[in-house]
């Protein structure tokens, strides 16, 4: 069975079991390995993509569930907010080992898209599902604030 959807602005299709996790399809079948496998049970956030513009854990998303919808991955995310997040991430060298970072970046963009000037509480609430084993949380918070142009409050 073929599942058709938009991937990073272009038509994409997967010929196989519609129950296959979107993460498997992205990485193994479409070659987009920027999205990471961390836990497989929606507990770590490493597999975060955007589904119709909103954050979505691809490890618990059967590909059949995205039929006709728009999927955006770290390889294709673009626009003013994405560029601001990317610049902020680079400016202060947010990543350490980097494994979780594509998920962190996608979640941050999703947050700023929904809430352009987030408070510390907004950042806490939005990023609570993205785990970083290197504990780069302080830099992640700062980069989100820098991207949003938010000053002050705790780092």
């Amino acid at each position: 069975m073929t599942t058709s959807f938009q991937l990073n602005g272009k038509p994409a299709a997967f010929d196989g079991d519609p129950e296959t996790p979107l993460l498997w399809v992205l990485r193994d079948h479409l070659g987009l390995t920027g999205t990471k496998y961390g836990c497989g049970v929606a507990q770590c956030g490493a597999c975060t993509v955007h589904l119709d513009g909103k954050n979505r854990r691809s490890c618990v998303t059967p590909v059949g569930m995205v039929a006709g919808k728009a999927v955006t991955t770290i390889e294709g995310v673009a626009g003013k907010t994405a560029e601001a997040v990317k610049a902020a991430w680079v400016a202060i060298d947010v990543p350490q080992c980097g494994f979780c970072q594509s998920g962190q970046v996608m979640s941050a963009i999703g947050l700023l898209t929904a809430k352009p000037r987030p408070s510390d509480t907004d950042i806490d609430n939005a990023m609570a599902g993205n785990i970083c084993r290197c504990a780069t949380y302080v830099r992640i918070r700062q980069a989100i604030k820098d991207a949003a142009g938010v000053k002050g409050a705790r780092a």
């Binding site: 079991d17 990485r27 497989g40 609570a128």
Partner: protein, 214 residues
């Protein structure tokens, strides 16, 4: 058909990453469930002559559903739901978010919960889902309350979303998110009985005066 197995070449870092993620016991140990409990029909209580006592007894039977983890988990005392049969705090630590209880911007319920239950691809258990997955309003918090308190809350239109008793019956008998409680997916014990039985009990409780247990 292509298989669902993940290519091992892409898993090199995954084993390291997952070791750093403390998975909650409710997720890891969710493979086994006990057999679902049953509900007694309203006719069971017909021998109770006093209508008030009969009504309260029927509500007590309804309480098997109302105080079941499938219901209580999303009627939390705080803004953070619980999960699993053990009613552990929800992981990740989500919050109620908007007035509809759909989660915070950037981490809405729909970030993980899809329109239906989804079995985990890498082991036992599943992540629950429904198109309208959300928390019950804070005014309908049930955790930590007695059955009498829940009963009074259920009837109080200032706290129950303005619902009449007839609308409460419709909610209990027909609402599909309520109905998820009897179709919770692998790794979760269904609510007792069936939604139809729960709806019939609700109607019998209302018809007998909608009295609350002591």
């Amino acid at each position: 058909m292509k298989g669902r197995g993940m290519n091992p070449r892409n898993l090199g870092f995954a084993a390291l990453a997952v070791s750093a993620v403390a998975l909650p016991a409710a997720v890891v140990a969710s493979g086994q469930s006990v057999p679902p409990a049953t509900l007694q029909p309203a006719s069971t209580f017909a021998s109770i002559a006093d209508p008030g006592a009969r009504s309260a007894a029927i509500f007590t039977e309804m309480g098997k559903v109302l105080t079941h983890p499938r219901c209580l988990n999303c009627h939390p005392r705080t803004d953070r739901p619980t999960q699993g049969d053990a009613m552990a705090l929800h992981e990740p630590p989500v919050t109620r978010g908007n007035a509809k209880g759909e989660g915070a911007p950037g981490l809405q319920c729909s970030t993980c919960h899809g329109p239906r239950n989804v079995a985990f691809a890498n082991g036992t258990g599943s992540i629950p889902g429904h198109p309208l997955w959300h928390l019950a309003p804070a005014s309908m918090a049930w955790q930590g309350k007695s059955l009498r308190e829940i009963c009074e809350q259920l009837k109080d239109r200032t706290r129950n979303g303005g619902k009449t008793l007839a609308q409460i019956h419709e909610h209990n008998a027909s609402d599909t998110l309520v109905g998820w409680g009897w179709n919770p997916g692998p790794g979760r014990t269904p609510a007792p009985g069936t939604q139809a039985q729960f709806g019939a009990l609700t109607k019998a409780w209302i018809d007998s005066g909608a009295k609350c247990p002591a």
